[in-house]
Symmetry: C2
Subunit: 187 residues, 2 copies
DNA sequence: GTCTATAGAGTGATAGAC
DNA sequence: GTCTATCACTCTATAGAC
């Protein structure tokens, strides 16, 4: 693998695990097996490399999610599929994690890909919910934008509860609780 | 205010804003208007001071939540009250934020108060939901532990979405979406 | 493209005077 | 209890040789 690629992937991993503030250029170089000069030759510094890594992680998140959204089935089935997909729960969300990082939130070029990723996710979920309304799965009282935000929030919050408990259990509980509520709404 | 108290409160603020990794003893001393020697006289170091600050924040969270849970009204009313309480959405949750901090999660004495706080919160919410089942507000299909986790997750995830968007809106959407689902379940 | 040397600032703590 | 001095280390680069 080329150096640039190794640098980006190592940065993705470190941002996931330790966040932006907790990730040093030196740690990235070690993980990517690249020298100091090499890293600064390809990137202007930590921020630009982080930006590339965050954008990459955002793309990967969208691809993985779209796989469930575009699959056949009713709206509830596709949402349930998405919610129940295999996840590394205790590692949390690579993108959501960054919202806790003050330096990421303070830098518009770093926050932008985070913002775009969740905007896309909520929009896509809203489309699926809207389809469910058209097919009569969900009653008129269900608002697609609200429900989409609720679904995305349960996942992000589920990660938080799981990490606090050092167990997948609260995540699974939260997801199943949401699925039940969605079923009750469509019943 | 005494020095110890100023140190704890300043640490609470800094942990909320910058997390554990992003908070230095020096920054705490500056915020608390305390000297180096003073801080190390009262606390063994950053970790012990953080522990005191996290425990304090956990107590405050429980007190604030209990105010809504113990108020009169139906289960749905009390849950709605809790969800719609005034919050500093863009600052996020003081406790939930710490789950993104690898050094907090790795240290059992720092993770413990985070764990306990969310365990209490989910347990208390589950009690309210269980009451709602007894009074016939919720059908038998609703599981208190699952629903409690879902409610806590929507708040924690709502903060994440709000910070990503740099706007309260996604938080409000997620909360209203959950309230609608709870109403549909009880209808 | 990659290497090593250097640098100024900050980190987290200890020591001992007052 | 609080102060200043000091320390070994890390952080995030920059400079210039190869």
């Amino acid at each position: 693998m080329e150096t640039v690629e190794r640098l980006i992937r190592s940065t993705q991993e470190l941002l996931w695990e330790r966040g932006y503030v907790g990730t040093s250029p030196k740690a990235i170089q070690r993980a990517a097996d690249a020298g100091q000069g090499s890293m600064y030759h390809h990137f202007s510094g930590k921020a630009q490399l982080a930006r590339a890594a965050i954008e990459r992680s955002g793309e990967e998140l969208r691809e993985a999610a779209e796989e469930q959204f575009a699959s056949p089935g009713t709206a509830t089935e596709r949402i349930t599929h998405y919610l129940e997909r295999d996840r590394e729960v205790l590692r949390g969300c690579r993108i959501g994690r960054l919202t806790a990082d003050p330096d990421v939130m303070a830098d518009p070029t770093l926050r932008a890909p985070v913002d775009e990723t969740f905007r896309w996710l909520r929009g896509r979920l809203a489309e699926v919910v809207a389809e469910g309304k058209r097919t009569g799965e969900y009653p008129a009282t269900i608002d697609p934008d609200q429900t989409a935000a609720t679904i995305a929030a349960v996942l992000q919050g589920g990660y938080v509860l799981a990490r606090a408990a050092n167990s997948d259990e609260p995540f699974e509980l939260a997801v199943q609780g949401l699925i039940t509520l969605l079923q009750e709404a469509s019943a």
